[in-house]
């Protein structure tokens, strides 16, 4: 592989023409450079601030603080909740979107009347900006007085639920799952459609029932698409912020605070840069831990 570039360069030099070989290699450097800056500079600064006492409201009290920030963060009752909520949100949304997504992908692989239009409608939530979808659910769907769900609940003789007050994290999970379901369906559907119909036919001839078909043919075939879906969703789900910001603001208490929102609180509400830096370090660590597993399975499935 490494020879392609050099041989191309040599060939153009040999023919006395301006060589695109080296220029072709250097063309990659600007992107690498800015991405390196984008990932290294913030990390370095975060590490530095971890050990500093630094509050934007009292900048004169700036100085080395040893492990003070770590102690402060560990004593914050919100921290454990935030980590737990981050993991729960991620896990729940992944299970819901991949599970429902697989079912819907199989459904939309069947021929039916108006399938194209139905699919277009199904995709709508993915293109709705997060602040809109959050407020749409908060004010029009889940609102306990005049929301659509409250109306449905009353029609069936139940008492409407105060979703964001009583079940804040579940409400956030509903919103985020709704946003990401279309993406899972679209990805998995693309994969389902690439499945060879003859293989299914052959297995059916051999007497395979629907469950066996799913277990031994469809699911293994979807492996690559599932791993890609899980990876992309994880990237975005670890950073869920706007949905919490406009609905519960992390509350009540810390019931719906995830790491993103906790750090936001430290920076822009308490102006505590040191505390925020330690929390950021934790968020980065968590993300990299997950990335290690996900990237490995994704890279295995990749044919570059």
């Amino acid at each position: 592989m490494s020879t392609t570039q050099t041989s191309a360069g040599r060939r153009s030099r040999a023919s006395g023409l301006p060589g695109a070989g080296n220029a072709g290699f250097y063309a990659n450097l600007p992107s690498i450079g800015v991405l390196l800056l984008w990932s290294v500079v913030p990390l370095g600064m975060t590490l530095w601030f971890c050990f500093r006492r630094y509050n934007l409201m009292a900048p004169e009290r700036n100085g080395f603080d040893g492990l003070g920030n770590f102690r402060y963060l560990l004593s914050d009752p919100g921290l454990g909740m935030a980590v737990w909520n981050t993991v729960l949100l991620l896990g729940a949304v992944l299970v819901i979107t991949v599970g429902l997504g697989t079912l819907l992908a199989v459904l939309f692989d069947q021929e039916f009347f108006g399938r194209g239009l139905a699919r277009v409608l199904l995709l709508a939530p993915f293109f709705v900006m997060p602040t809109v979808s959050a407020l749409l659910w908060k004010d029009m769907m889940l609102q306990p007085d005049n929301g659509v769900l409250a109306f449905l609940w009353r029609s069936f003789g139940f008492r409407p639920v105060d979703w964001f007050g009583r079940l804040p994290l579940l409400s956030i999970i509903v919103i985020v799952s709704w946003q990401w379901l279309p993406f899972a369906v679209l990805t998995l559907l693309t994969a389902v459609q690439s499945l060879d119909a003859e293989r299914i036919e052959a297995a059916r001839m051999d007497g395979a029932g629907p469950i066996a078909l799913f277990r031994y043919i469809l699911w293994p075939h979807l492996g690559r698409a599932v791993s890609a879906t899980v990876m992309i969703e994880t990237i975005f789900l670890l950073g869920v912020f706007a949905e919490i910001y406009v609905t519960t603001a992390g509350g009540p208490g810390f019931a719906s605070t995830n790491l993103s929102f906790l750090i936001y609180r430290y920076v822009l509400m308490e102006y505590d840069i040191g505390g925020a830096a330690v929390a950021s370090l934790l968020a980065i660590f968590l993300a990299n831990l997950l990335a290690l597993f996900l990237m490995r399975s994704f890279a295995r499935n990749l044919d570059t």
């Binding site: 913030p42 709508a124 709705v128 900006m129 004010d139 890609a228 912020f241």
Partner: protein
């Protein structure tokens, strides 16, 4: 006599449409609410039949600040996309046509920079922006969005460029084309559909980006995502107006997104699913 196949198709039709109507219902409801009066919008019994009004749209459109937010969204989405392309096109060209032993590793590393949650960079970026006067400027948001989307843009372009036959570019090189000429005269025209759908995805991502918009901008440079968030305050509970503003905010992306759904899968899964 209805055949087994026809029955099956009717069942699938019912199931498929039920699923998509349930999923799309909230959006449909929001659009409907945007044509109601505020009183109808907060009725405990939902109004399905009502005299539609354009009053909410007029009220929102009449606000000078709405136009500013909308313009900010346009500038940031376009600007960050162009900036990301400026870096990504040479990069993807390099990796697609001049691969080295490290290309695969480089691609995966670029992807891994996306794994860091944006909030991990909030503290440093916020401080740098404060000290350089980039807080609450469109330039600042353009730069951050471009950087955030760069890995995805590089990946997507890379998978499209891989489809361009090498021979064409090599022929150009024989004729003495420089790398720049190769990219501009040969590669870009040949992969125009790919570049177009990559740009579209970048525009969609930047348009809908909320984290940096909410943390780095305020009254001056805030795009529509932040404007809509301002309706979450208790004094802003005007559901019909919120619906109208939201409908206007999502309409362009809804249309662009629907038009590009196929390429979107490919782009967002980094070419793993085509």
């Amino acid at each position: 006599m209805i055949s087994h196949a026809t029955w099956r198709k009717m069942w699938m039709t019912a199931l498929g449409w039920a699923a998509s109507l349930v999923v799309a219902f909230p959006v449909f409801w929001m659009v409907l609410t945007s044509f109601k009066t505020e009183t109808e919008a907060i009725s405990r019994v939902p109004h399905l039949l009502f005299a539609p009004t354009l009053g909410n749209y007029r009220a929102i459109g009449a606000q000078a600040r709405y136009l500013r937010f909308a313009w900010n969204s346009v500038v940031v989405a376009m600007g960050s996309t162009l900036l990301a392309l400026l870096f990504a096109v040479p990069s993807a060209y390099s990796m697609a046509f001049h691969p080295t032993r490290r290309t695969r590793g480089t691609l995966l590393w670029m992807l891994s920079t996306k794994m860091m949650p944006p909030v991990g960079a909030l503290v440093p970026v916020y401080l740098i922006f404060r000290d350089t006067g980039l807080l609450d400027t469109r330039t600042g948001l353009v730069v951050v969005d471009a950087l955030a989307n760069l890995p995805i843009v590089v990946w997507m372009l890379y998978t499209f460029f891989k489809d361009v036959p090498r021979e064409v570019l090599e022929a150009g090189r024989m004729d003495g084309a420089s790398a720049l000429r190769e990219i501009v005269d040969l590669l870009m025209p040949l992969s125009l559909p790919g570049i177009a759908s990559t740009s579209l995805l970048a525009v969609i991502l930047a348009w809908n980006e909320a984290f940096w918009s909410l943390t780095l901008t305020a009254a001056k440079a805030a795009p529509l995502t932040a404007f809509i968030a301002s309706f979450s305050s208790p004094e802003g509970l005007f559901y019909a107006k919120l619906s109208a503003a939201s409908t206007m905010a999502i309409a362009p992306i809804l249309i662009l997104g629907w038009a590009s759904q196929k390429q979107l899968v490919r782009g967002l899964t980094f070419g793993a699913v085509k």
